[in-house]
């Protein structure tokens, strides 16, 4: 097991390294010049050069990368003379656009995205799985048909439409104050305020994701129900309730762990659309604005890396978890 873990962890590290290198290379070959972006009308060649130096883009890409890696471990200094300042390790860089060390930006954005992801995740799992089970158990009945409609709507309705609809409805019924919406409230100081802040984004995301899980659960439960071991359970005299809970669901939901883990990891990287609609200052909004508006390389790099890291690490967790759930794939 330890050996396996070490091997997987080093593979994970390798992937993350490759991703970070790719982002650097992609940026180095973009057809535009970030050094021109910040000075606007004031851009003269000397100012552009000063900017390039300030952004650390006046050296070859491999040196930029080296500085980045070094900064992760020992921190990084910016500026010269009296304007000198430091981003402490782990320094992911400094956003000259937001005037903050990227680590600080991430530290403030991540709790938002995590709150969004975890709530939506729980909600869609509950909703998706229970609807899926209901549909499977009432196969062909109205409950099943209703769930089919739900799945169709959920899958075909993109969050940028459902989110706006939910938001406008919530506004119409005065359920949220549009101007206060999305303001970060800590779950530790004000759990209710926190939850209320996230409830509509949770619903938006949950609707989008739950559909897949409903469909998946339904077909898995139906398939598992016809397994021989379910017949065995019945032959043992177990009640239908126990069979469903203990025997059918255990097997039917095991594969869901994989997709759920990856979906969750994907969300941790930031739910761009939902965060934007509900004005949530999370990673998704941070990264999309950095890409589309600011060309803020250190932010883009870090959010990309983070997203990749979430996915690879979650992959590992899912694999370990899956081995725990399904003894057949357990590693010797």
């Amino acid at each position: 097991m330890l050996k396996y873990l070490v091997r997987r962890l080093s593979a994970t590290l390798l992937v993350i390294t490759l991703v970070s290198m790719s982002v650097f290379i992609i940026f180095a070959y973009l057809p535009m010049d970030p050094a021109r972006l910040t000075c606007g009308k004031a851009c003269t060649p000397p100012i552009i050069e000063a900017n390039r130096h300030r952004l650390g883009l006046d050296v070859p890409v491999q040196i930029q990368y080296g500085r980045f890696v070094k900064g992760l471990f020992v921190g990084r200094e910016y500026g010269e003379g009296a304007a000198k300042f430091e981003c402490p390790a782990p320094a992911f860089g400094y956003s000259f656009n937001k005037h903050e060390c990227v680590a600080t930006l991430i530290a403030s954005a991540f709790p938002v995205t995590f709150s969004l992801a975890i709530g939506a995740f729980i909600l869609w799992l509950l909703l998706g799985v229970s609807l899926g089970v209901l549909a499977a158990k009432r196969q062909g009945k109205w409950q099943d048909k209703a769930s089919t409609v739900f799945v169709l709507v959920g899958i075909s309705l993109p969050t940028f439409i459902s989110g706006i609809l939910i938001l406008l409805l919530a506004l119409k019924f005065n359920l949220i104050n549009p101007i206060e919406m999305g303001r970060w409230v800590s779950p530790f100081t004000n759990p209710l305020g926190w939850a209320w802040n996230f409830i509509f984004p949770w619903i938006t995301l949950a609707l989008a994701f739950a559909a897949t899980y409903t469909r998946f659960t339904r077909s898995n439960v139906i398939e598992t129900s016809s397994e021989d071991y379910i017949r065995t359970a019945r032959a043992k005299g177990l009640s239908e309730k126990v069979i469903l809970r203990k025997h059918t669901l255990r097997a039917a939901l095991a594969p869901i762990v994989t997709i759920a883990g990856l979906d969750f990891a994907g969300l941790l990287g930031g739910a761009i659309i939902t965060e934007n609609i509900f004005n949530l200052p999370g990673l998704g909004r941070l990264s999309i604005r950095a890409v589309l508006i600011d060309y803020d390389l250190p932010v883009i790099l870090t959010t990309t890396l983070l997203a990749a890291t979430f996915v690879v690490v979650m992959n590992l967790i899912v694999d370990i978890l899956y081995a725990y759930i399904d003894p057949r794939v357990r590693v010797a």
Partner: protein
């Protein structure tokens, strides 16, 4: 013969499908007593499993149409598992009647240890902690001949060999000391060498628990080792029913004869070819008129007036305690018995 424990009367199971009604088992009647082993023999699709699942109440009552009776003579009184409420039948399962299945890999839950699965069955009808259940599971594993039972009780089904898994299944089925055990092709998925061990185990267990056993198999060879009586089924009907020796020595239906001829026998290694029965069993949706076996029967031309094609033969007691569903006379049949293959 002791009084029967299970009495099946006119049991008919059909499944409505888009193509029509599938008559999977048709007007089945038999009995089995404690200490007795009844073998139900037939090709796949002949209705043997359908019949036993109906007895166990394991058909989905919404998708299966079931009529007839399957009466368990319990100490607390008779219960008809066909008409009794679902809940009543469920509480008989595992306790009064138990069942083991063909493929012990797929029949055991892959995610739970064998100990968990046995102890779960035990806990259903016994007061006791999980620990007690595991203790009981170890006892059962020892009883069914699994070495190092105390260690293996914590293992998962995939860590066992096929034969060992079937032993686990048997142990699990017997954990509540049932009066009836239905073994549905218990050896089919196993290596030949393991098969007889399992059959031996079944026989031992039957003695140990004084159970009524229904052994479902397509293999008449298996039957010889363990059964007291035999029902031969074809196309959803019983075509012959008799004591084990009668079946072997005086098979009374051309289908049974055909089956026997297709078994390799050590006492007849005289160069005769093994004879397979030609053709396929009929569709259960549109059964032919007359005798269902007629199309594959090499003797039907002996029956006058094309009777085989027009009239369904009755299950007649042609010899004492020996029932057969055939228009042929006893004389015609005895001729066929002695000269199989080239007879007619």
């Amino acid at each position: 013969m002791t009084s029967p424990f299970l009495e099946v009367k006119n049991l008919t199971v059909s499944f409505p499908t888009e193509d029509g009604l599938v008559r999977a088992s048709n007007d089945i009647s038999f009995t089995v007593a404690r200490g007795e082993t009844l073998a139900v023999v037939g090709e796949s699709g002949s209705g043997k499993s359908v019949t036993s699942l109906a007895v166990m109440g394991l058909h989905n009552r919404r998708s299966a149409q079931i009529s007839g009776e399957a009466i368990l003579h319990l100490e607390s009184g008779d219960v008809d598992t066909i008409s009794a409420p679902e809940d009543v039948v469920r509480k008989l399962r595992g306790k009064s009647m138990a069942m083991i299945f063909q493929d012990p890999m797929s029949a055991l839950h892959p995610y739970y240890t064998v100990g968990d699965q046995i102890s779960e069955a035990w806990g259903l009808y016994n007061e006791g902690s999980k620990k007690d259940g595991i203790k009981r599971a170890i006892e059962m594993l020892e009883l069914v001949g699994i070495p190092e039972a105390a260690k293996r009780v914590n293992e998962f089904p995939h860590q066992f060999s096929g034969g060992m898994r079937q032993r686990v299944m048997i142990g699990m089925a017997l954990v509540n000391n049932p009066s009836l055990l239905i073994a549905d092709e218990p050896t089919t998925a196993l290596d030949v060498t393991v098969q007889s061990q399992i059959l031996q185990l079944l026989r031992d267990m039957q003695k140990e628990f004084n159970m009524a056993v229904i052994l479902i198999t397509h293999d008449l060879g298996v039957v010889a080792e363990v059964a007291d009586r035999v029902c031969v089924m074809y196309a959803g009907k019983i075509v012959e029913q008799a004591q084990i020796d009668d079946i072997y020595y005086v098979p009374d239906h051309p289908y049974t004869i055909g089956l026997l001829n297709s078994i390799p026998r050590v006492d007849q290694l005289d160069g005769r070819r093994l004879l397979a029965i030609p053709g396929q069993p009929p569709s259960l949706i549109s059964l032919p008129t007359g005798c269902a076996f007629r199309a594959r029967c090499s003797l039907s031309h002996l029956v006058p007036n094309n009777l085989c094609a027009t009239k369904v033969p009755d299950l007649d007691e042609k010899l004492t305690g020996h029932f057969s569903r055939c228009h042929l006379t006893e004389a015609q049949l005895s001729k066929a018995r002695t000269a199989p293959g080239d007879a007619l």
